[in-house]
């Protein structure tokens, strides 16, 4: 059926339903937002129960840790256990704990105190680490995306050339390697053997964080290896998917047609191939965010980078529920929100996507 942008919807319809039908954009946004909320809730609930059902009672262990300090003859204290259970929202049955958790999260926007750095709240810890992770991840991801897109388009366009075939095979090989594997090898070669880059920490501690160029250089210097480990894989997988898209697009009728029209190759590349290529890649970006965070945990741990991933590993060792859950929720929230934003804005960029 023809859908014309100019043609008015002339059938008389009633109520909200008809209003929504008449405003497909808003209807789409609402539907998308509801789906977002449902997935968010589902994923948060999933993780809540996941963590709580893990065997290993943190409070018993925790109180034990406190007791170990005592040199002589300390007995157990029921008061202590009780007190900490209530502090950490662990009193009551699982369902009550869940309600408590949701209330705390939704109403108070509070993750509760950390175990890792009691009585500091988990948010403080997370917020302290977040800038590093965002800096590292956002920059390396974005950079990979742009670079991957450009190079991928190039090797797709010149797909018959020997070099491009080699490049794409290389990308296939690299794009599935785990981040840490690259990290290990980079550390071995560039840090250990050649000593070009430092292999730990986020900046030279001799500097105080400031906007001093020396400090910034130091941050860059220390960030290079972790960023590289993310980017080697990032760039090659973006290259690969861009190339695949490019090859698909090159096979599309409208490209053959553009060629038949006798357009200049550059114009075909930019206006016909690339324009169709980068839009789907924006969606792809949203989808990959999730897995990037996964890899990031390892990379940060390997480079002792003071970000969320590093914090997470420490929190796990202490079974710091609040921090663990805070980080996972944040990751889920981030990925879902990024996807929501992309989904809401993409149709504005891509005329093909209809709001249904």
């Amino acid at each position: 059926m023809i859908h014309t942008a100019t043609g008015p919807v002339n059938k008389p319809l009633a109520g909200i339903r008809s209003w929504l039908l008449a405003h497909p954009l808003i209807a789409y946004a609402i539907r998308r937002f509801i789906a977002y909320l449902v997935t968010l809730w589902g994923a948060l609930t999933l993780t809540f129960f996941f963590f709580r059902l893990i065997p290993g009672n943190p409070i018993g262990a925790y109180v034990q840790a406190l007791q170990q300090k005592q040199i002589y003859n300390a007995g157990a204290s029921a008061d202590m256990v009780k007190y900490y259970k209530s502090v950490f929202g662990l009193d009551g049955n699982l369902f009550e704990q869940y309600i408590h958790y949701i209330q705390q999260l939704v109403i108070k926007h509070d993750l509760g105190p950390s175990i890792l750095s009691f009585p500091t709240s988990s948010e403080v810890l997370i917020m302290r680490s977040l800038p590093w992770t965002i800096g590292l991840l956002a920059l390396s991801t974005l950079f990979s995306w742009v670079l991957g897109l450009i190079l991928g388009a190039l090797i797709g366009w010149k797909r018959d050339k020997w070099g491009s075939e080699f490049a794409s095979n290389l990308c296939i090989a690299l794009s599935h390697i785990p981040y840490y594997f690259v990290a290990l090898i980079l550390v071995f070669l560039l840090a250990y053997k050649l000593n070009w880059f430092p292999s730990t920490a986020a900046y030279n501690p001799a500097w105080d964080p400031s906007w001093d160029p020396g400090f910034i250089m130091s941050v860059i210097n220390h960030g290079t290896l972790p960023a590289l480990s993310i980017m080697v894989i990032g760039v090659s997988s973006w290259m690969l998917s861009t190339r695949m898209l490019m090859v698909t697009i090159l096979g599309e009728d409208y490209l053959t047609f553009a060629e038949a029209k006798g357009l200049k190759p550059r114009k075909i590349l930019t206006r016909y191939a690339l324009r169709n290529c980068y839009l789907p890649q924006i969606t792809g970006l949203g989808i990959t965010l999730g897995s990037i965070f996964n890899g990031n945990v390892l990379v940060e741990q390997l480079f002792a980078y003071p970000g969320i991933g590093n914090l997470f590993v420490m929190a796990t060792q202490q079974l710091d529920y609040n921090t663990i859950q805070g980080i996972v929720s944040l990751a889920i929230f981030g990925v879902l929100t990024a996807n929501l934003i992309l989904d809401l804005f993409l149709p504005a960029l891509d005329p093909r996507i209809k709001y249904n």
Binding site: A43, P55, A173, H176, P178, F188, V297, V313, T316, I327
Partner: protein, 294 residues
């Protein structure tokens, strides 16, 4: 099945990459299967993994007795590599199998039944996909009791099935309304028969690729856990060797094989699976090759 073998043969003939990949992986599998006699051979009768520095001193450099030297407690690194490879492969295969089975079942139920079942299962799968799996994996593996190779594989599979489920489901969706499925329906096939005789055979390549990826993914996920020292078990595998090489500062002591051997083996393993993947892709996606039969 004749067709299947024929297709395999065609595949083998049509791509050097597939050949190379298959050869490497076959070699590894053979080594893994023969790990017991091989380690016995390496140990010249002794158990090369036994700890006794009076018999086998620590931190030996590669020598005639120990081709790759020994570790902090005098274990033979070559033997460790062989055993480690075996364990890694075992975990990979079990995890790959479990996740493929779960993924395939979910995919078939969701894709074939459709409707609300599909909605529910798909949302569930999607949720699994947005939850950052590695952190959960870390937590789960740190706190699971009575871990053995099988439990680890099970844990790894929990996080890898959704990928298989998603790709296979979309294939099932595209297949289930194929006329031959409808023909089967009017020939009185029941759902199970349709799934197993009509859909499944055509999805074998997808299931196979899904299995390979899940297996490889699990091997690497486990190695990843171990590299940062959070491996769930003490089973000697390649990741644990990497961890030790870091923990013990093996490089400073000149014991590079403790680091290099597992890296090389993992690299080759990875390369072989991907060569097969590339090869398959080139054979099945004609757009990716210049001329047919490349």
């Amino acid at each position: 099945m004749g067709r299947f073998l024929q297709a395999m043969h065609g595949l083998w003939k049509s791509s050097h990459k597939v050949q190379a990949g298959v050869i490497i992986i076959t070699f590894f599998i053979v080594v893994a299967l023969l790990s017991a006699p091989i380690t016995a051979l390496i140990g010249h009768g002794h158990d090369p993994l036994d700890i006794d520095v009076s018999i086998s001193p620590a931190w030996q450099s590669p020598n005639a007795q120990h081709w790759l030297g020994t570790d902090r407690v005098g274990r033979d690194i070559l033997a460790m590599t062989v055993i480690g490879l075996t364990a890694s492969l075992e975990v990979g295969v079990i995890a790959g199998l479990i996740s493929t089975v779960i993924g395939t079942i979910v995919a078939f139920v969701a894709g074939y039944k459709g409707g609300n079942i599909d909605n529910f299962l798909s949302s569930f799968t999607d949720m699994f996909l947005v939850v950052p799996s590695f952190p959960l994996l870390i937590t789960l593996s740190a706190y699971t009791a009575n871990v053995n190779l099988f439990t680890i594989a099970l844990i790894l599979a929990i996080f890898s099935w959704p990928f298989a489920a998603r790709t296979i489901r979309s294939q099932v969706l595209s297949l289930r309304s194929r006329p031959y499925v409808e023909l089967a329906k009017v020939t009185k096939f029941n759902d199970m028969e349709i799934i197993f005789t009509e859909l499944m055979p055509n999805l074998l390549p997808f299931i196979g690729v899904g299995f390979a990826n899940a297996a490889l993914g699990s091997v690497f996920a486990l190695v990843g856990l171990e590299v940062i020292g959070l491996g769930p078990s003490g089973t000697l595998d390649l990741g644990l060797m990497l961890n030790w090489s870091q923990q013990w500062g093996a490089l400073t002591l000149g014991a590079w094989p403790l680091f290099v051997a597992p890296v090389v083996v993992l690299g080759l393993l990875f390369l072989s699976v991907n060569m097969i993947n590339i090869g398959l892709e080139e054979v099945y996606n004609p757009r990716l090759r210049k001329t047919a039969g490349a």
